[in-house]
Amino acid sequence: MKALSIQDLSKQYKSGVQALNSINFEVNQGDFFALLGPNGAGKTTAIGILTSLVNKTSGSVKVFGHDIDTALSLAKACLGVVPQEVNLNLFDKCINTLVNQAGFYGIPRDEAKKRAKYYLEQMGLWEKRNSNARDLSGGMKRRLMVARSLVNQPKLLLLDEPTAGVDIETRRMMWRFLRELNQQGTTIILTTHYLEEAEQLCDRVAIIDEGEIIENDSMLNVLKKLKKEVFILNVSQSLTEAPIIEGYETSLKSPQEIEVSILQSQGINEVFAQLDTLAISVISMRNKTGRLEELFIDLTNNPSKETTE
């Protein structure tokens, strides 16, 4: 059984905006699935339809075999969701937020309290259990939303940019936690603007642009489609112009940084060899941007849609 099956899903808002145009994709049980796309591509609309916050125009959605048209409650019982924007009751205590949410899922109060404690501890918020949500930092609010999404122990977790605006330490902590959760069997769908995050965590990826799925494959296969990578080489000398490396496109980023574009068919050894003959020694090198990011820009065919911060 598929964790999620979406067929010919379309959404046109009253304003006339066609947010989704007959999209199809499936998510297998146990997948850590990335749903990527530029702003306004339709990611949040898709998540909204899954969680019934947005009414679809046409198409079908099945969550663990439960059709949202005929068995919405059963489909919802399988889901946990972390929305893009903070949607906490800011005047409620953290512990109440989780206990109430568990209650809404039909979990008896005693069990709800145990789960609330467990997930607040997991998210490092137990000490803040009696604080109102409004008194938490931005990162803590995000963690509280993740904890809230887990109290019903969902089989399919939807994360709509869960690490937006959180510091690096918190992001790494959440990555570790999500990896463990996925390894324990929870299927996860992640939308994110941090493509590095998707590359690190996800084994499958779908890229959505202007309401249509333009790529849907394993992360490995998607990255294989990368035609070229751009590297920044740090050199020991101060240069005034970019060295000419035959067969490669180069530019000078700063006196000690050379930008080199390398096609998939080319090796990098030749670059070092030619630089060596020019008596330029390389101290270190790095990718200009994440590999997925380059592919993403390539596929969406518009550099202005670059998504990293």
């Binding site: 969680t51 009414n55 409650s73 919802k76 209650g103 039909g106 709800a112 809230r148």
Partner: protein, 255 residues
């Protein structure tokens, strides 16, 4: 207990505890407002009026003032709570869960009824400082308060469902609820009015609620108590159906 019942009780608990948690906002203001009504309309002006329908004026208006508090507070409780949930978007906590629309309506209804009952109790105690309050039919009074609070909780919920900005939740109480309440026989018997205005008054649902309460407390009323209860019950069923329908359709809460 079924998961639906658990989710309904979870919301009922949340909404009723909210009334107590913010008691300074929910219970004190109606106490102060009604004290002023008793002082001004009852003590100062009432002495000059004398009797109304055979009762001292203070005693006559007490049931109406209790009902006035119940109406405004049950309405205000639900419209405020639900609209805040919409604005802060934590209504999504319920919408993404498997709980059904009827459970959501009943959960909010519970908050409005509890506030109505608490406020009715507070105002009744205040009334005792100014007049006697020998309730003739206590169970009937309780029923009328609960039914009226239910009707106006549902009305508040419907208002909040449609509301898009704070103005939208202020318009109905100011331009509809207040005039209907003041013209609903809180301060006078409609028999004082000319025939035409008596007929017009009978189109006002609040007249039936105020007079049902007055009958429960004093045993006198401008309407038949059966008509009053039928009217309140009819409005309850109508508004309950509308509220559940709107939530099922996702009007005002889903894109």
């Amino acid at each position: 207990m079924s998961p639906q019942m658990i989710s309904m009780f979870a919301l009922m608990r949340k909404e009723t505890s909210r009334v107590l948690r913010i008691w300074v906002q929910t219970l004190i203001p109606p106490g102060i407002t009604m004290s002023l009504y008793f002082i001004i309309f009852g003590t100062l002006i009432g002495k000059r009026i004398g009797e109304m329908d055979g009762y001292p004026y203070m005693e006559y208006i007490a049931p109406g003032l209790i009902m006035m508090s119940v109406i405004t507070n049950s309405y205000g409780n639900v419209v405020g709570s639900f609209f805040n949930a919409k604005i802060q978007r934590h209504i999504e906590e319920m919408l993404v869960s498997p709980m059904d629309e009827t459970s959501i309506v009943i959960g909010y209804l519970a908050g409005g009824i509890i506030r109505g009952l608490f406020v009715a109790t507070v105002v009744s105690f205040i009334a005792l400082f100014f007049t006697e309050l020998n309730i003739k039919y206590p169970l009937l009074a309780l029923l009328v308060i609960i039914m009226t609070a239910s009707v106006f909780s549902l009305a508040g919920l419907i208002n909040a469902i449609f509301a898009k900005k704070f103005d939208d939740i202020a318009v109905i109480p100011s331009f509809v609820l207040a005039p209907l309440t003041y013209l609903g026989g809180v301060f006078y018997t409609v028999s004082l009015l000319p025939e035409f205005w008596q007929t017009v008054s009978r189109l006002n649902p609040i007249l039936y609620m105020v007079n049902s309460m007055r009958y429960s407390v004093l045993g006198t009323s401008d309407i038949e108590i059966v008509d009053g209860l039928l009217m309140i019950g009819g409005f309850f069923i109508l508004l309950l159906s509308v509220a559940v329908y709107l939530l099922k359709k996702g009007i005002g809460i889903r894109d």
